[in-house]
Amino acid sequence: MLDILSLLDITFFLLAAMGALIGIIFGAIPGMTATMAVAVCLPLTYALGLHHGLALLLGLYVGGISGGMVPAVLLNIPGTPSSITTTFDGYPMAQKGEGERALRVSVVASVVGGLISAAILFLFAPLLAEFSIKFSYVEKFLIILLALTVIASMSRNMLVGIFSGVLGIWLSLIGTYSISDGGNGHTRLMFDFLEPYLFEGFSLLPVLIGIFGIATILLEAEKGVKSGLAGTEIKIGKGGGFSLNLFKGRLTNLVRSSFIGTFVGMLPGVGGSAASVLAYTQEKNLSRDSSEMGKGAPQGLIASESANNALTGGALIPLLSLGIPGDSTTAVLIGAFTLQGIQVGPLFIPENADTWYVMMTALVFANIVMFFLMFYAIKHIAKVVLVPKYILYPIIVMMCVVGAYAINYGIMFDVWTLLIFGVLGYLIQKVGLEVAPLIIGFILGGQAEVYFVKSLESFGTYSIFFTKSPIAVVLWLLIAASVTFSVVMGLKSRAKNRLETTQ
């Protein structure tokens, strides 16, 4: 144990803190992600050595995931794909003048999610890795299906919402059925002349910031960009009141969402955005008073942010105990180990106990630093909405361009995707389709295809989805409950509306 203490010097903590800070900045810029932050700092770790390097990278990881909440709440643009569900309640709150409060709720939820997942990682990593390999294509497909059921419960009108979701799935299928997923590499759903551009389909991040960021600007432009400020009604200070009372009765939500985030994070290939979507679904289904969700309820923020920060610990589980990354950021993190000539795999923890304890320290410390940095910076960050629109909007477009161009290391078509989906996002909102279901369909569509088709290729029968394992049965029960719930809720609100119109 003493050996480990000698590894933890001042530089170590400074690097973890610096990582958290840089990560937050990356995450807070629309279009920049945690993955990108880790990727650009990876070369530095060679000079820093393994333990110092890991401190920096884990700081970046935690900071980057958390930073995503800032533009999600204040500008309605998810800074990272996993903060998509944060926009559902965060932005309505910001519009009501509660941006600061929304951010504080998110920060507290984030740190709790991060710490819970770190604890789970520390205590149960090998055990959970054992459990995670019980999830084959069949069970993973059912998890995606469960996450997709959120579409039904989230839509204003169920028929339109489901159609929007299916449209999102359809859009995600454009391009090749990639051989890196085991597909046959053929393209579909497009014309041959588009192949040079659309070969790999539309990438997620440009689609996301196009449909949220650019479309929002177009909608504003249509109205003439009237008011000088981004949030006319936002009064800083007022309504920003925050107390832990907001978390009263939300403990179940907080813990459940953290567990969901950790759990989804540890399933290789599923991870990422599915975690917060799933946590949001479950809160919507299970809580007694979910009618306000989507209109600015703190409980939505709690579910979303605790789940997406819990991802960090979750995604490290398969990385450290199977050698398999749980999400795109940990996939880059593998590079830090190989760069130092260290293998990750089932024997990593027993054979590199020092590194393992060092990583845990860095992870916990980065979460705490993130909390203090964010919690006390919020007052100033929230002032972004006071910047006049004629200054703010051009900068948002510019940063979206940087993010879109850099996400796949320099592809110009990703920048055009911004405009395409900006205009598309404008049109779908105008004709009355729903954006949130569409984007969830887009995020989960590709995985749904691979898991579905591969399950059938292996087993050759649809019945496998019901008979594969007890886990599959449990997942079906959850799906059934989720669907029933949204139907009941839909009927209730319809009845309520009718009542109101007759009165």
């Binding site: 700092c41 432009a221 109205k223 051009p394």
Partner: protein
């Protein structure tokens, strides 16, 4: 019965055409839902438009045509010129730097309703500082490839 049920569920996917299997399902699903929407949403809506109770989206609404189409045109020109200028100075990020300056300034001017000297100066400074800062930090410090 048992075998009948098994064969009902059984499916064999040819690897060569497996890229079309899932999209086919989605196409049908989307087609079906679209038909339902036509019947339950679009037709009643159009009837309401005819009765004059509702207006058509986009076409029937008032809009700031100059700022709306101006934004789209400006963004398109921005993306296009960025690649063109960037190609003159390969992988330096100058395409992004210079074209962004022009873009940020022009968009600021377009969204500004009353132009005072102070506001214009702020816009000019912003148009120079913001892209330079972004370019310096990302392209120089972090060596991210920019157009």
């Amino acid at each position: 019965m048992e075998s009948g049920l098994t064969s009902l569920f059984s499916v064999s996917i040819d690897f060569e055409t497996s890229h079309l299997f899932f999209p086919h399902i989605i196409n049908w699903l989307m087609g079906g839902l679209f038909a339902l929407i036509l019947v339950f949403k679009v037709v009643p809506f159009l009837a309401a438009v005819r009765r004059g109770e509702e207006t058509l989206p986009i076409l029937g609404e008032s809009m700031d045509k100059f700022r709306f189409f101006g934004s789209i045109a400006l963004i398109a020109a921005y993306f296009y010129l960025m690649a063109v200028v960037g190609n003159l100075f390969p992988y330096t990020g100058y395409g992004f730097l210079f074209v962004s300056m022009a873009f940020v300034f022009l968009m600021s001017m377009m969204y500004m309703h009353t132009k005072t000297k102070r506001k214009v100066i702020t816009a000019v400074i912003n148009a120079i500082v913001a892209p330079s800062l972004a370019w310096f930090i990302l392209a120089k410090l972090f060596q991210i490839t920019l157009p």
